[in-house]
């Protein structure tokens, strides 16, 4: 059942004001409806402006094909091994995340240790500057959701350890802004793999 985890604030880039937002564990029909009716048309329209999936990185629309309802149903069936999260603000879904809790670290300093793996993370299309080609709406959606994954890692006693594969459109954020460790291109997943140490997780939460 959908559960309110915490209240946070998001900066509205347009009004320059902070607005109250809520982080939920487990998605519900409202989140699926928002994705299908509000997100998907914008994502698809932007994706269609590019010939290839690779080129769609420029328009921040490489995730237009993600099937959130199916992924959420699979997570629910996993009985707590996989978790979904939603960030809502102004009555709309601003971000979605799917994490898995049965994964192991590859980085030498923590190799073999348990970690939380972010399978999917997306912010609403209207929050993406390169997608809307104008002033995007809310800033900080990805940061709030990544912080929630780190919180889960602490809750499971993984001490903040985290990993993810990044879409090309998001690599620079994880590498240059979040300061996660780039372990290079993963041939199997065809994406760059990032890992977060306990110290990096602490620095991320403090930042």
């Amino acid at each position: 059942m959908k559960e309110l985890l915490r209240s946070v604030v998001l900066l509205n880039r347009r009004s320059k004001e902070f607005e109250d937002a809520q982080v939920f564990r487990e998605l519900d029909q409202k989140n699926f409806d928002d994705f299908e009716k509000l997100w998907k048309p914008l994502l698809k329209a932007r994706r269609d402006e590019f010939d290839t999936w690779e080129a769609a990185a420029e328009g921040d629309a490489q995730d237009s094909h993600w099937k959130w309802a199916k992924k959420a149903a699979e997570a629910l069936a996993s009985l707590g091994r996989d978790e979904t999260y939603a960030l809502e603000c102004a009555g709309e879904t601003q971000g979605l995340m799917l994490v898995k809790t049965s994964a192991f670290a590859r980085l030498d300093v923590q190799r073999g240790r348990d970690l939380v793996y972010i399978e999917l993370l997306a912010t609403a299309p209207w929050n993406r500057p390169r997608l809307v080609k104008a002033e995007a709406r809310y800033k900080g959606v990805g940061r709030v959701l990544v912080a929630e994954a780190i919180n889960l890692s602490h809750h499971l006693e993984f001490n903040g350890r985290l990993a993810l594969h990044s879409l090309p459109q998001s690599e620079s954020w994880y590498r240059d802004i979040a300061k996660f460790t780039d372990l290079g291109y993963d041939e199997e997943k065809e994406m760059v793999y990032f890992e977060v140490t306990e110290a990096q997780a602490a620095a991320f939460l403090a930042g």
Binding site: S78, L79, R81, T101, S102, R113, D114, L156, E157, F158
Partner: protein, 64 residues
């Protein structure tokens, strides 16, 4: 429920708990999630392997 473990199982739990830096409760919970993952893969007809990095030799993990 109360989990009853033999002395050997308790020693193993102690050792794993210390080496993985987790409490016994967290470790048992994680073991359950991992067992679930392996079971799901096998039930889906997949195979689970362990690979030796030096030789790339793969050994199938058998779960009975």
């Amino acid at each position: 429920m109360t989990l009853m473990l033999s002395d050997k199982e308790m020693s193993l739990l102690d050792r794993l708990s210390e080496s993985r830096g987790m409490s016994k409760t967290a470790l048992v919970r994680q073991a359950l999630r991992l067992y679930q993952s392996v079971t799901e893969r096998l039930e889906a007809g997949e195979k689970v392997f362990v690979e030796k990095p030096s030789t790339k030799e793969k050994t199938e993990l058998m779960v009975l």
